[in-house]
Symmetry: C2
Subunit: 354 residues, 2 copies
């Protein structure tokens, strides 16, 4: 015992459970006024400092990392985060760490869980996924001195709205779509459409940017780029609709998509009269998806693959640097951008009509 | 503090880390002889009882449940366990519990982890997946009085080789394949093949049994059943090969498969000359898969769906009964067999040739 007060110290002295102490700190509305006052008095008396700051002083570590498990959306793109979870759990265990899961409806709810996870379950650190513009989670964790790393870049310039600089690992989506376009250009395609998400999502904008750069490099004029660029919500049905409209009005000979779901919809439109993936009909155009999901392998869809095992390993390296106290101020070494790879299958085999 | 010695008590008195105490208990070969003797003396002196037995006495619970995360095999069938994990995490949190993940190469390694997870991380209970004949994990947990539930039946008769009776939740695979056969029989099919796994796996034998029962009920003679029944390893390529052989020699008009992977292989053979799922060719026969994976939805494959959210909820109910001490001796109520449902799509729409 090093004599520093812990949550347990407070709980014992106030004769309440650890959960009650956590509630006093994180959800005071759940605690009766009398208990609230008594516990707060003990916290002041013993000088207990909740999570973050206190954790930096502790020598004992739980060696447990928290990860919010996100809802599976259509079961296709969600597979990427499931594969990241598998890789993270395996690689964490090789380094002597465990992964604890939790769920939350949104960022605010996720932040609401951090306190309990730190105080009651004594987690050492967090891995955050699905970073986005205006993400409030990273600021909270920095303020409370909690070690963390994100799988996904911060999508605001450093300093925006008090967003902190922090360690992250991400995959270069623009490099992936650029490689897809160049692969199609090598096969003779020039009219290459992009089926992506509405502007404003960091991941989606990044994937669109790679397509745009490669198309501009090939000298495609702006009015043609505007016609070939479609934004739609994610989904197989949405991809099918986008493809039908493009084929009718713009007549591309190839499609690069922001997700395998969209690409499957494009494929369905191309391969059949009635939008059924397995029905008959010759390939009318080439298609490349993104994320190389199991569905892509099953139906022969070319796709951009993320190096998820490497991403998990690098994320853990960044966390362990922080936990061993050797991180210092964040530097460029704390930002790891990994290159994806293009997996070529039958769906992109067709050359443009001559 | 109730005065009962904990792992922490032993660690402090022996001036070692909690991890070292755990190693003394679970991996003594990792500990120097001198330390081993000192820690063992303290354990005897304070009367510390590791996990199991000691846990029953404790009033403080971690409210953490352990789950071994299995390796994804082909990314298609593994999706079922990922969906179970999502459901378990969400439903556990609603009940005030968290899920901690770990990995292990085999059952022995999994058992090797239980001790540390119980002693150092103070887990309350485990959820086991992929039960199989001769499963040694359940006996270990029963011996050590650790609460657990399995998602999957014990595949030996109770009492075999000291296998304990224990709480479990499972999905009735035989009912699923029987429903698939009856759906095909209703459309006029009589020559319905079964493409399943080699005999000996509980899950595989169960799925084969449902097909067999429904075929026998329709009066199909044994020599025909033998011809229509194929056993192969799981996989798309394996399903494609099995379908080619059956079509050449036995000429079924419909296929029921033990997995979506096998069914996708059958579909690939049916829909194209070159084994490509998305190539042309009219449907020659009807196909039903098992597990209703995202791939099945994407390619229009009929499939048997497991009620995974319900399975996770019932598994947690059985665990919480044990943790609240109200379980008593296992009864039939501790065995929950859920009915799957058949999801009909285009792949099973074709009627037999007249």
């Amino acid at each position: 015992m090093d004599g520093r007060p812990t949550l347990e110290t407070v709980a014992q002295r106030a004769a309440v459970s650890r959960q009650t102490v956590s509630n006093v700190l994180n959800s005071p509305h759940l605690v009766r006024q009398e208990t609230l006052e008594r516990v707060r008095a003990v916290i002041d008396e013993v000088g207990y400092r909740p999570h973050g700051a206190a954790r930096q002083l502790r020598t004992r570590r739980s060696r447990v990392i928290g990860l919010r498990l996100e809802r599976t959306v259509d079961g296709i793109n969600g597979a990427v985060l499931d594969r990241f979870l598998h890789a993270l759990t395996e690689q964490a265990q090789l380094r002597g760490y465990r992964v604890m899961l939790f769920t939350a409806h949104d960022d605010a709810a996720e932040i609401g869980q951090y306190g309990e996870l730190l105080d009651v379950l004594e987690l050492d650190a967090f891995v955050l996924t699905s970073t986005h513009s205006g993400d409030p989670r990273t600021a909270w964790l920095c303020e409370h001195d909690v070690p963390f790393v994100t799988f996904g870049r911060p999508w605001d310039p450093p300093g925006t709205d008090g967003q902190p600089d922090h360690p992250w690992v991400d995959v270069d989506g623009a490099a992936g779509t650029r490689a897809a376009v160049e692969h199609l250009q090598d096969a003779g395609h020039t009219e290459i459409a992009f089926v992506g998400w509405p502007a404003g999502s960091g991941v989606g904008d990044d994937r669109r940017a790679g397509w745009l750069r490669a198309m501009r490099a090939a000298g495609v004029p702006q009015h043609r780029l505007d016609a070939l660029d479609v934004a739609t919500e994610d989904g197989i049905a949405e991809g099918a609709v986008a493809a039908r409209r493009l084929l009718e009005h713009v007549r591309p000979t190839a499609f690069v998509c922001a997700s395998d779901s969209l690409a499957l919809g494009v494929l369905a439109t191309l391969r059949s009269a009635d939008g059924d993936l397995i029905a008959s009909g010759p390939a009318q155009a080439a298609v490349v998806g993104f994320d190389d999901t199991p569905v892509a392998r099953a139906v022969g869809l070319s796709s951009v693959a993320q190096p998820l095992t490497e991403a998990a390993g690098r994320a853990l390296d960044l966390l362990l640097q922080q936990l061993s106290g050797s991180s210092g101020a964040p530097t460029r070494d704390h930002h790891v951008l990994l290159a994806p790879s293009l997996v070529v299958r039958e769906s992109s085999a067709s050359a443009p009509p001559t």
